[in-house]
């Protein structure tokens, strides 16, 4: 796990229902996360949702993708 992963990463998803399902999947895999409004970005231009993930973002992405949750982008959380 990289230092940045401790700070948290926003994994952008397509909807709030995908975010809620994703959070549940990450919980089951012991990856802490929370459902957040997506920060300003180019991938989802408005009204986006994300998972703020604290931990291994690559593993988190793998789990989400494996469960048909499309990832629109990743944004590191700024301090």
């Amino acid at each position: 796990m990289l230092w940045g992963d401790f700070m948290g990463n926003y994994i952008l998803v397509t909807s709030v229902s995908k975010a809620l399902r994703g959070k549940e999947l990450l919980d089951k895999n012991n990856i802490p996360s929370s459902v957040e409004r997506a920060p300003k970005n180019n991938a989802v231009r408005s009204c986006g949702y994300s998972l703020l993930v604290f931990g291994d973002k690559d593993r988190a992405q793998y789990i989400l993708r494996r469960n048909n949750i499309r990832i629109m982008g990743i944004i590191p959380k700024k301090l």
Binding site: T14, S15, V16, S17, S46, C47, Y49, N68
Partner: protein
């Protein structure tokens, strides 16, 4: 009052349903999936939890495959209008509701045709009847799980297997069966399951469910989904693709409590209770010579729905008289003229009595006693068919 109109909507609802609706109004009645604040997120979580409960009840593919609609009619319309295109042929059973027949009649002008296969109490015969109406252009089979008028149960698992063999998609109308008869979407390979939330799932009116598989479907409604708003195109992924506009949060919260109530009680336990009452009513009505019965009540073969007539008295006249004595049942055609034509009751309609999980045997006894009471008056004064 004796309420036996549970085929139209169940009444009363479980206390948990009423509490949940009130609780949602009092605590988190924000717009789900829209504003992004905490309350909105709690509202979204409530809807997601309801998707989870429905997924478990029907063994659906995923939470995302559970779509909320206003009612079963809207769910069926979403499938019929979203899947069919010019030149397609559809097969339906002889027991279908107007929610199926009317959209298909409308689509006749758009180059969609349909054929009807007859119900039979012999499952093998039903399968033969289905096979006989399949054409090379048949793309969809819409079939009720159980008749909303006569309770007849169709062998939907076998019908789905046959249709799969011919590459035909299968849409099940489970309005009268969800919560009473088992539905296993993954095991049965249904492509679409449509049902209402306010009948045997004990949710409030204004809630409907559509469960979809992998089949591509156009949405019925287009508009705001609370996601990717700068994009002028409708989202591609379910459930948002099919849920434009603000969701019925409070209704869905109540529906979740209803579905959980059914799961706690157990579908089979509910079925056995209701079927025992329907069977008892059937056996008592059989003792009255002027009563005409149309269906047997048999475990596994019928839903707990009983249709009858009193001699040749018009069914709605009988229902009016029963209402005066505090009995709520439904007469007429039950929005299913196809089923009535099939059973030769199109002129009279039938009186339909459907118990719920809350119906007691004493209510059935009172119902029978009211029928015996009004019988002479009805036979003397009732409008005849």
């Amino acid at each position: 009052m004796i309420y036996l109109d549970n085929g139209a909507t169940t009444f009363p609802k479980p206390t948990a349903v009423k509490q949940k609706i009130t609780d949602s109004f009092n605590r988190y009645s924000a717009n789900p999936g829209r504003s992004g604040h905490k309350l909105s997120l709690i509202a979204s979580e409530e809807i997601y939890e309801c998707r989870k409960s429905i997924k478990k009840l029907f063994n659906a593919q995923s939470e995302d495959s559970v779509i909320f609609t206003m009612n079963c009619t809207m769910s069926l319309n979403t499938v019929i209008f979203g899947f069919l295109r010019e030149g397609d042929h559809v097969i339906i059973s002889s027991l279908e509701h107007n929610a199926v027949v009317r959209p298909l009649e409308y689509l006749k002008d758009k180059g969609v045709s349909y054929s009807v296969f007859d119900y039979s109490s012999d499952d093998d015969e039903v399968i033969d009847n289905v096979r006989a109406v399949i054409t090379p252009r048949t793309r969809l089979c819409v079939c009720t799980h159980a008749s909303n008028v006569f309770g007849f149960r169709l062998p939907i698992e076998r019908i789905a297997a046959l249709c799969r063999f011919y590459g035909i998609k299968v849409c099940i109308d489970a309005a009268q069966s969800a919560g009473v008869l088992p539905i296993d979407i993954l095991a049965s390979g249904f492509d679409f399951v449509c049902t209402s939330g306010h009948k045997s799932l004990y949710g409030p009116m204004g809630t409907g469910i559509l469960v979809i598989g992998d089949t591509e479907l156009k949405p019925l409604l287009f508009g705001g989904t609370g996601t990717d708003s700068a994009n002028p195109h409708q989202p591609e992924e379910p459930p948002e693709r099919f849920e434009s506009g603000t969701a019925n949060l409070n209704g869905i919260a109540g529906l979740r409590a209803g579905v959980d109530f059914v799961r706690r009680r157990g579908t089979d336990n509910i079925y056995r209770h209701e079927l025992a009452l329907a069977g008892y009513l059937h056996s008592e009505l059989m003792k009255i010579p002027q009563i005409i019965l149309y269906n047997n009540i048999e475990y596994g073969k019928t839903a707990p729905v009983l249709s009858f007539n009193i001699d040749n008295v018009y069914s709605e006249e009988a229902v009016r008289m029963l209402d005066k004595y505090g009995v709520c049942v439904r007469g007429g055609l039950h929005c299913a003229p196809l089923a009535h034509r099939f059973m030769n009751t199109i002129d009279s309609g039938t009186v339909r009595a459907v118990p719920s999980v809350f119906t007691a045997k004493s209510e059935i006894d009172r119902f029978i006693s009211v029928i015996k009471n009004i019988l002479p008056k009805l036979l003397d004064n009732g409008k005849k068919v």
